[in-house]
């Protein structure tokens, strides 16, 4: 299954803006390419990426075929409380992947 990498600090001061980097392995087949026999290769992409912080959504990206293979995102959020960051990718052909990271805020 999908391989995801998360780069987020595990400790932060309250109110600090933390930077989060995510990378997931996915071909992101555009649906515009053709095979050697000329048949169109059907689209297979990740459509949605959502990051929630203790259940509250803090970031969302709606993807189109123009996102490069292995979607990579850098975004930020304010460290409000200790807890869990959940990252979820969903896409074509029932694709779904979830990763979590814990953060300690003091």
């Amino acid at each position: 299954m999908a391989n995801a990498l998360i780069n987020a600090p595990d400790r932060a001061r309250r109110g600090e803006i933390i930077e989060i980097k995510t990378l997931i392995s996915h071909q992101m087949e555009t649906g515009y390419r053709r095979s050697q026999l000329g048949a169109r290769i059907p689209r297979d992409i990740i459509r949605l990426f959502v990051c929630t912080y203790n259940g509250t959504e803090v970031f969302r990206a709606e993807l189109h075929p123009a996102i490069a293979a292995n979607p990579f995102f850098v975004f930020s959020t304010v460290a409000t409380e200790s807890g869990t960051l959940t990252f979820q990718w969903t896409g074509d052909n029932g694709f779904s992947a979830t990763e979590t990271a814990t953060i300690t805020v003091d």
Partner: protein
């Protein structure tokens, strides 16, 4: 100014000389700048889009259109009363004008996001910032692409 356009034209024709122009005819249904404008209208509605406040960082020349690093930032205090609601990215000449829409809010702390995109051609990329007061701001960047995405493998 004059010098810059002639340099750009030279690069475009140089890319075409490398066979890019010949390959492009194979690609079905390229979007046009008009379609990009329509896609932008679909997002912004009838609201005016003002240039400024948005900073779009893209390399001026990209050797591989399959992965082009893109960073968009919007000047904003990012408070509950005044923040960036969304950032949208559009291209003129990809098969589809929409690239990505980011939704953020005051919890983001700052309005700055990065990703990697595909570019099918040498073209202009537009980023639009949607603010909590309902205003829209934009920035554009021109990228020269030597290896087009969608056509060759990465």
């Amino acid at each position: 100014m004059d010098r810059e356009t002639s340099r750009r034209e030279f690069l475009v024709s140089a890319a075409a000389g490398l066979g890019l122009g010949a390959v492009i005819t194979v690609v079905p249904a390229h979007a046009t700048p008009q379609e990009a404008q329509e896609a932008i209208r679909k997002i912004v509605g009838s609201a005016p889009v003002t240039k400024g406040r948005v900073k779009l960082e893209l390399p001026p020349l990209s050797e591989n259109g399959n992965t082009v690093p893109l960073t968009v930032s919007v000047e904003s205090a990012m408070t509950p009363a005044d923040h960036v609601r969304a950032i949208h990215v559009f291209t003129e000449l990809n098969p589809q004008p929409e690239v990505v829409s980011f939704r953020l809010g005051p919890r983001a702390g700052r309005a700055r996001v990065s990703t990697r995109i595909r570019l099918a051609n040498t073209q202009t990329v537009t980023a639009i910032g949607e603010l909590s007061d309902g205003s829209f701001w934009s920035a554009t960047a021109a990228v020269v692409v030597t290896l087009a995405a969608c056509l060759e493998d990465a």
